[in-house]
């Protein structure tokens, strides 16, 4: 069995480990990449010069340069020379954002995020089944879209809203806010497989099973249907991930 003292001293040494310039470049890169992917920095926006960027972020110029090199390699920044030149934001296509995130993610990280998402959402389904009133469950039926619908965007939005609504039925604001975070963090990846018609069909049936379980107050069945869906989605996503990484 692990010695608790040893764990805490290991945790302490991790906290106080020097960050180093290598870590800083990655952090600068991640911060800018997130801003570009989320649209805070828009397509065509001019970035500050290497020198300005270094001063603003409080890092060495070489660190800022390293981050920009990496952003150029990812296609998120274009640099032109001469008068009127500089570094400009190049906004990725929505599909590329997701693929880009997948490409930079290890299989371990994917599984790690999926596990957290799974535990939070199955827990919500269980509590929601115990706490929801029949008329509230009725409202969820509006979020079940017809199985023949082939607008992928609609499927993705409806699924996200369905899971958020289930979270709200736990009557816990903190749990709901956690699901909002999970949806923003992992939801977009989890919904990649919805582009496939067969997957959509199966997903639609699992969502119907979830709403039925909530309606009959069956906590175990509600938990099982979310677990079933998230597990299937993660399996398919892991296959897609493998394809993107190869």
């Amino acid at each position: 069995m692990a010695n608790p003292r040893a764990i805490s001293s290991r945790a302490r040494s991790a906290i106080f480990a020097p960050i180093g310039d290598e870590g800083r470049a990655v952090r600068v890169e991640n911060r800018l990449a997130e801003a570009i992917r989320s649209g805070v920095l828009a397509d065509g926006d001019r970035l500050p010069s290497e020198l300005e960027l270094a001063q603003m972020l409080g890092v060495a110029t070489v660190t800022a340069r390293e981050a920009l090199v990496s952003l150029r390699a990812q296609g998120l920044v274009v640099t032109t020379r001469g008068r009127g030149g500089g570094s400009f934001v190049r906004a990725p296509e929505p599909g590329d954002i997701v693929k880009g995130r997948l490409a930079t993610m290890s299989r371990v990280e994917l599984r790690d995020r999926a596990s957290l998402y799974l535990v939070v959402l199955t827990g919500c389904a269980e509590l929601a089944a115990e706490r929801a009133a029949p008329d509230e469950v009725e409202d969820l039926r509006d979020l079940l879209i017809p199985l023949e619908e082939d607008d992928v965007g609609r499927w993705r939005d409806a699924e996200s809203e369905l899971y958020l609504s289930v979270a709200a039925l736990t009557q816990s604001a903190r749990l709901t806010r956690e699901v909002v975070r999970q949806e923003a963090d992992f939801g977009t990846l989890l919904r990649v497989p919805l582009s496939e018609p067969d997957f959509r069909q199966a997903a639609g049936e699992r969502h119907r099973a979830l709403v039925a379980a909530l309606g009959s107050g069956d906590a175990a069945a509600a938990r099982a249907s979310v677990r079933d869906h998230v597990s299937h989605a993660v399996e398919r996503l892991t296959e897609i991930h493998e394809g993107v990484r190869q």
Binding site: E161, L164, L169, Q171, S172, A173, T176, R177, A184, G187
Partner: protein
């Protein structure tokens, strides 16, 4: 001196929700007059109600307030929330699904749909509002009509935590529970009756009231809900 605590608890409910009703009726008259005047844009609506709504929101027991438009009631936007909320009384404008950023159709939310259907004052919740307040709230809404159709709802949010602080001492003295129109617990003197739990409404008068103060009474060995007070009285 003997203080009638049931009156005290009822008085606090009346003080809070009565003030909300007065404001929503004032907003209804003001907004209806604006719509009767001709086509209304989002900017005109917000400018028209901002000063009065912010004055109303000086009351720290309120979480937010404003006017939410019915679909296509405004000339330049299908859906719109002229709504101010939170500690900073921030303006909302549009509602989005928080994770995807997609515009959300709030017309299926009980605080919109119920007054639309009944034509009457409504109190929705307790519910977790992930569209606007991001909190556990109760939303009071009043439908506003112009030109023979519903232009939207005037509303105000109260956090359930605020109601607990405000009403729990009075409920404790009575050993009572505040429930909504569906019999869902808002605040209870009994620590085992969690907010959000369903316990039902009293047989008499419970269905017409948006809020009821109830107590479990033993009638011939059977537990019954006894109504102590209600709102609107």
């Amino acid at each position: 001196m003997n203080v009638d605590v049931s009156t005290d608890c009822a008085a606090r409910i009346e003080h809070h929700f009565g003030a909300i009703l007065t404001e929503l009726e004032r907003m209804r008259a003001s907004v209806a007059a604006l719509f009767d005047d001709g086509p209304v844009t989002t900017d005109r609506l917000s400018a028209h109600i901002e000063a009065d709504t912010l004055a109303f929101l000086q009351d720290p027991t309120l979480l937010g307030s404003g006017f939410v438009a019915a679909p296509d009631a405004l000339s330049d936007r299908r859906l719109y929330l002229a709504w101010w909320q939170g500690a900073g009384r921030d303006f909302l404008g549009e509602a989005e699904v928080p994770a995807t950023g997609e515009a959300i159709d709030y017309t299926r939310q009980p605080w919109f749909r119920t007054p639309e259907r009944t034509g009457k004052l409504n109190i929705a919740g307790p519910y977790v509002d992930f569209i606007c307040a991001d909190e556990y709230v109760m939303t009071t809404t009043l439908p506003v009509y112009a030109g023979g159709r519903m232009a939207g709802v005037a509303g105000a949010d109260t956090s359930v935590e605020t109601l607990e602080t405000m009403l729990l001492p009075g409920l404790r003295e009575l050993g009572a529970t505040l429930v909504n129109a569906h019999g869902r617990v808002v605040v209870s003197a009994d620590p085992h009756r969690a907010t959000g739990e369903m316990i039902g409404v009293p047989a008499e008068g419970g269905a017409e009231r948006l809020l009821s103060v109830v107590r479990l009474a033993d009638a011939d060995g059977r537990e019954q809900l006894e109504s102590l007070a209600g709102w609107p009285a």
